[in-house]
């Protein structure tokens, strides 16, 4: 479900990336997490949806394009998540963690 939900989030204009819903330190202590995440099966969920006292809570962390209007993008993402999970009642938590082009982190120096 979260993969389809991730696609719905990425379809929002201005979203460049979806990052794991939780910081590394929230997932596992210290750098041990890096060692454990060597294959895709161990990869953390990008979008977290969990039931909390009869109500779903969705947690999303995104990157936004510098050309977009971040507050509008965030509200659109919350609406997209809600629409995707309807008719279930859901509280959506969206956090912007990066405002930049979504280029991959190439290592090489250009010159």
């Amino acid at each position: 479900m979260t993969s389809a939900l991730q696609q719905a989030i990425m379809a929002v204009d201005g979203v460049t990336e979806v990052f794991p819903a939780r910081n590394l330190w929230q997932r596992l202590p210290g750098r041990a997490a890096s060692l454990l995440q060597r294959n895709a099966a161990d990869a953390p969920p990008l979008v977290e949806v969990r039931e909390e006292s009869g109500r779903a809570e969705a947690t999303v962390r995104i990157g936004v394009s510098p050309d977009a209007r971040t507050p509008d993008v965030v509200r659109a993402v919350a609406a997209a998540v809600r629409n995707h999970l309807a008719p279930e009642k859901v509280a959506v938590q969206v956090t912007v963690v990066r405002i930049a082009a979504g280029d991959p982190p190439a290592a090489s120096q250009e010159d």
Binding site: L24, P71, T95, V96
Partner: protein, 193 residues
């Protein structure tokens, strides 16, 4: 080049990111795809390296020699600013929702705008005020290192305008002031005698 060894919340460091840009080596390459703080750090280091290629090559090469305080300051501040920091709220259409942006993402935004100014590199960047309370007045404080010979006043005015536009586009903060301080004026590298 010696660099501050502050460890980010993800466990990695500025030095590791710099080494990655130089050599492509990183303890956990997949991490770079999923960590926004490291991605922001790579962006800043790339811009710093580009500025170095244009202006500061000698200083970059000599960083750690004792005559590079401005560069050390930039790197030390960068390490601090890459942390997520405070949570800056955004208005939501549904009262059940919690929408926000990290302070680190906004500091990185300010830094990217400042670094686009020709002949300048952002030093310390900070948001003074309670950014966690909607409507609370916030002052942006930005330190700049600039190359000797550049016209500072027009550049500062233009930068202030660019920052105001970027912050209005990407935040709902009540920006009460944008203070820009030139903390270092750097002479262009000279030929050795």
């Amino acid at each position: 080049m010696s660099m501050p060894n502050d460890t980010f919340e993800c466990g990695h460091t500025i030095e590791e990111l710099s080494l990655y840009l130089d050599t492509g080596e990183f303890p956990d390459p997949a991490h770079l795809e999923s960590c926004p703080e490291c991605r922001n750090g790579l962006d800043s280091l790339r811009r710093l390296a580009a500025a170095g290629g244009e202006l500061f090559a000698s200083d970059l090469a000599a960083a750690g020699s004792g005559n590079d305080d401005w560069m050390k300051d930039i790197l030390a501040n960068l390490a601090l600013e890459l942390r997520p920091g405070r949570s800056i709220p955004l208005r939501s259409d549904d009262p059940a929702d919690t929408l926000s942006e990290t302070e680190g993402s906004i500091l990185a935004l300010v830094r990217s705008v400042a670094d686009s100014l020709p002949g300048a590199v952002a030093g310390k960047v900070r948001l003074d005020g309670d950014v966690t309370v909607p409507g609370s007045p916030v002052a942006v404080r930005l330190d700049l290192a600039v190359l000797f010979g550049h016209a500072l006043m027009p550049s500062a005015a233009s930068l202030r305008q660019d920052l105001a536009e970027a912050l209005a586009r990407h935040t709902e903060l009540n920006i009460a002031a944008i203070d820009i301080t030139i903390t270092d004026v750097i002479e262009a590298p000279r030929e050795e005698k």
